[in-house]
Symmetry: C2
Subunit: 227 residues, 2 copies
Amino acid sequence: MSSPDTMARSYAQLCGIATALDVVGDRWTLLVLRDLLLGPLRFGDLAEGLPGIGTNTLTARLKHLEALDVVHRRLLPLPDRGTVYELTDYGRELEPILMALGRWGTRSMGRLPRDVASRSRWLVAAMLAFHDDSQRIAQPTTWELRLSDGPFTVRAEDSTLTVAAGAPDHADLILTTDDETLHQLLTHRLTPAEAVTTGAVTLDGDISGLSRLIGLFTFPALEASAT
Amino acid sequence: MSSPDTMARSYAQLCGIATALDVVGDRWTLLVLRDLLLGPLRFGDLAEGLPGIGTNTLTARLKHLEALDVVHRRLLPLPDRGTVYELTDYGRELEPILMALGRWGTRSMGRLPRDVASRSRWLVAAMLAFHDDSQRIAQPTTWELRLSDGPFTVRAEDSTLTVAAGAPDHADLILTTDDETLHQLLTHRLTPAEAVTTGAVTLDGDISGLSRLIGLFTFPALEASAT
DNA sequence: CGGTATCCGCAAAGATACTG
DNA sequence: CAGTATCTTTGCGGATACCG
C-alpha cells in the first residue's frame, strides 16, 4: 500500500521543483495555504474564502496536505468543539515563496475578469508581501484592522512585520474601513486625512498612526489591461 | 470555438497569488519554465524533458505563456531555421521563486515513486538552487559539465553563479560524468579523488578545480521516505 | 523534424444533495 | 458545521493523423 492516491498523478521526476508541485501543485492547493498563512481556519471558513471550490475538492486537498506534513488538523478546546487546519513548520516555510509569487502575479492583475471576488484577508496578506523590510520602526506598534472578514492584527517591531487574523490584546490604533479604501491608502491614491474626513475610515487612536502604518509598505500601482 | 481564451478557468480573485496561478498554475506550466531557465529550447526538446506531457498540452501551455508575456517565441537565424522558446524578462523573474520552491520540495523527494525520470538539466538547475552565495570566489572560473543532456556552462564570479545550457568558449575545467556521480559529489558521498580514480569522472584540467566547484554548493542529504 | 488538430478514455474538478 | 456521496462536466494523457 504505497501511500494512497495522494501521489496518483505525480510528475515522477527527480527534481525538487517537480516534487514541490507533487505536493502543492494541484489546483486550489496554494490558495488554501495562502489563506492559512494568517492563522488556523475551520473547514467552512476555508471554503468561504475559496469561491468556486467544491467541498469534496477541499476535503481532498486538506487530506493530501495533511498526509504530506504541510497542514495539521487540530481539535479546538472545549468551548468551541471544532476542528481547525493550520500550517505545520514545513508548510510555513512556503510563506516567503507565496509572497514572492504574489508580488510577481500582481503585475498581471490588470488582466483579471470583470467579476472578481475580493476578500480583505487577501489584501492583508498583500500587506505582508509588500512590506518594506528595509525600514526599522522606532518603537513596536500594533494596529487592529477591522475589515469585512473580521479583525486583523498588524504588528511592526524593528524591521519585521507580523500579520494575523484576530484582534490583538492591545492595539495602538484601531481602524475600521473597507478593502477598497485601504487599498487606496496603501497605493497613495487617498491620504489619511481625506479618508478620515469622508468617513471612509474610522479611527480609534491618532491619525499619525495611520500614516506610519501606510509608510511601512510599497504597493505597486496596478497597470491597466493590455490585451 | 474555444479561441485562445487563456483565462478560461481563472480563479477570478483580487489577489496577486491567485493571479500568478492564473498565469503559471496549470499543470506542467512551471516545469516548462524550469526547463527554460537554462536557456532557450525547441518544442521537441521541451517535450523530451517533460515525460508524460502531450504535445497538445505543451502547445496550449506555450500559447498561454506567450500571450501573457512570460515566454517569447523566437525564430532562429538561417543555419538552423527553427523556432525556440525563451523566457521574457517577466518570466525570468520567476527564477528565484522556482529555486526556492525547488529547495522546499527537495525535502519531500524521499516520497517519490520508484520509476522516476531523471535529466541532467534538472540537476544543473539544482546547482543554481543550492549555490551558497555567501561565498566570494577569488578569481572568476568557468566549468564545462558534459552530462547526458549535453554540455552545460557553470561560471562563478564574485558571489554570483550563472548556469546555462551549452558549452562555454573557454573553460578552466571540463568534466565529463553522469548525473548520479555528480550528485554524489555534490552531497559529499564521493570525493573528487575517488571519482577520478574509479573513472566515474573524466577531467580535462586540474582536479583542484573540481573540489572548488563542489565547495560552492550546500546540497542537502536526501531523507528516506517515511510514509 | 516542428508543430497542430482530432478523437478517445480516464480521472479530476464543479455542483449539489445529503448525513453525522 | 463538517464533511461524504453522487452526478455531471471538463481537462488531461495518449495515440494518431496531418501540414510546413
